[in-house]
């Protein structure tokens, strides 16, 4: 069994279909929400897990393969706000929107750590990348925290006056943890994925 908890621009069922075709040796399940992923992970441990690197780290799963883009296994994160650029000096009392990678408490800690804050900001979690923009539009968050590449994509599709603030932080790209002997062949298959499939997961290729 391959569990996938990855936020991409395509729907979870579409990603599941793509991966199931490529990794035919085991069943693939793509989760859209952290709690579902976390519960299933503890109740029925899989042979392999594909997730963003912070997710694997939080679950204490060792990455067997790391996705890389532009030659590195990390991606810069930024803050994106609407109309006014957000200052990194006064984030403690702000509401920060983010994709929920780790559940409520751990996600708040994660955001606090990434933003190098002494106290936790208010964190609004969403389940899909597409839901970050409405957070800004409807003023439910002062800024959203996301990868620079995703921020650039959102800017392409919106006419809002979106502002990017660099925060000088990098976060691990998707990685694969192979957990059982049945998981080993999955790693081999990932290494042979074509660029189109890798692009759907936000990486160019996989390295050990």
């Amino acid at each position: 069994m391959l569990y996938v908890f990855l936020h991409t621009s395509i729907r979870p069922n579409a990603l599941q279909k793509i991966l199931q075709q490529k990794v035919s040796s085991v069943n693939t399940i793509v989760f859209g929400r952290f709690r579902d992923f976390e519960k299933q992970l503890s109740q029925a441990p899989p042979d392999a897990v594909l997730a963003a690197r912070p997710v694997l780290d939080a679950q204490q799963l060792k990455a067997t393969l790391r996705g890389i883009r532009d030659g590195v296994p990390t991606t810069p994160y930024v803050l994106m706000s609407n109309q006014t650029q957000i200052s990194t000096d006064a984030l403690g009392d702000k509401t920060i929107g983010t994709i929920d990678l780790l559940g409520r408490k751990k996600m708040t800690d994660f955001v606090t750590r990434l933003l190098k804050l002494n106290s936790s900001p208010r964190v609004k979690r969403v389940t899909k990348l597409q839901d970050l923009l409405p957070l800004l539009q409807f003023q439910l968050a002062d800024a959203v925290l996301l990868s620079k590449s995703e921020a650039d994509k959102i800017k392409q599709h919106s006419q809002l006056e979106l502002q990017i603030t660099d925060i000088d932080v990098k976060v691990g790209l998707p990685a694969l943890a192979c957990l059982t002997p049945r998981g080993a062949p999955i790693c081999k298959q990932f290494e042979s994925f074509d660029p189109t499939v890798n692009a759907q997961m936000g990486v160019e290729k996989w390295i050990k």
Binding site: R125, K128, Q137, F138
Partner: protein
């Protein structure tokens, strides 16, 4: 709440679906009422109360949609709150609502669906003035903005997908301009709602052209409005509101909407999944609430209220963040320049 408002507040699309189904098989005789899908398998499981845990009481009718929101919400809250759910049926009275509140002594109340909200309002009205009600969060209730003002200590999340979200999505799906949006509405009922939607839509450079079809529109009113939008205003797409009065009879649909829409395909976006059908091309797209994500948004709101000692303050009704998209594939691909590469972003494809 006035009578007109109460009429739009129970939109389900069920009667319209019956008419569309009838049209699909070539018969437009008055449609038999469609009985909502029975959901006897749905149950509410309440865990024993724990010491020192505040309670969140959820009052809800049992349906697949409410169940989806409930399960996600419970999942998100259970580490911090005792979550108690009680079903609301046709037999539930305002007194029963009061009894549930008295039994659970909740810090927060979640009210799902218009029926529940109306019962709760009756309960509030029956209490002596100065009664301290628990903080309430209303979800899955049509046109909540017009209801919330009539309730004490209430906030919530609107159920209708905002125009700006609908057409920002549509803009990414189509290889043709989506800038001018036409909408038929009843000014007497939804003027302030439309005004708010236009404000949000303008931020994304959408121009909204609303046409008032009167309090009780006829098929001719619908045709006239659609013709005006298409031929005079040359709109790029039509936004169909969830207002029963716009679909009150089979004549309104067949001789109003479909008679005009079938002349020249336009991207028509509806707010009910069942209005996208392969045999009758009414809505080419539906954008509907993502109920699981709505559960997460509701949980976020409850945690924030808890952090603020359950004070509503000047908090406004939130807009829903997340949508699911349904597409009439043939209509979209053959007539509306749908970008094929976007198909993996669509939740339900009707072929």
């Amino acid at each position: 709440m006035d009578q007109i408002n109460s009429r739009i507040l129970r939109f389900s699309g069920i009667s319209i679906c019956a008419v569309l189904a009838a049209l699909a098989v070539g018969c437009i005789t008055p449609a038999k009422p469609v009985v909502p899908k029975s959901t006897p398998q749905l149950t509410l499981q309440n865990d024993p109360r724990r010491e020192n845990f505040e309670a969140v009481l959820i009052l809800m009718p049992l349906s697949e949609a409410t169940q989806e929101v409930y399960l996600t919400l419970k999942d998100e809250l259970i580490d911090s709150f005792d979550v108690i759910a009680r079903s609301v049926t046709d037999e539930t009275t305002p007194q029963a609502i009061g009894q549930h509140i008295q039994d659970a002594k909740p810090s927060c109340l979640v009210l799902m669906d218009n029926r529940t909200v109306h019962l709760y309002r009756s309960y509030q009205l029956s209490q002596p003035s100065g009664t301290d009600f628990p903080t309430g969060v209303v979800v899955m209730t049509s046109y909540l903005g017009s209801i919330a003002n009539h309730l004490d200590k209430i906030t919530g999340i609107a159920y209708e997908i905002p125009e700006v979200t609908v057409f920002r999505n549509l803009r990414t799906f189509l290889d043709q301009p989506v800038r001018k949006i036409g909408v038929l509405y009843r000014k007497v009922v939804l003027e302030s709602y439309i005004r708010e939607q236009m404000k949000f839509a303008a931020m994304e450079q959408f121009e909204t052209i609303p046409i008032d079809v009167g309090k009780t529109p006829t098929p001719a009113d619908i045709r006239r409005a659609l013709t005006e939008l298409r031929d005079y205003n040359q709109v790029d797409a039509i936004w169909v509101l969830n207002d029963n009065a716009l679909f009150a009879s089979s004549d309104l649909i067949a001789q109003g909407w479909l008679a005009e829409l079938n002349k020249k395909p336009l991207p028509v976006v509806v707010g009910v999944t069942n209005l996208v059908q392969k045999d009758v091309h009414f809505g080419a797209f539906a954008m509907v609430p993502d109920h699981s994500a709505l559960g997460v948004q509701t949980a976020n709101l409850i945690y924030e209220l808890a952090d603020e000692d359950w004070e509503i303050g000047d908090r406004k009704i939130e807009q829903p963040l997340s949508v699911k998209t349904v597409i009439d594939y043939e209509q979209a691909v053959n007539h509306l320049n749908f970008k094929e590469e976007m198909i993996d972003r669509i939740d339900i494809v009707i072929r």
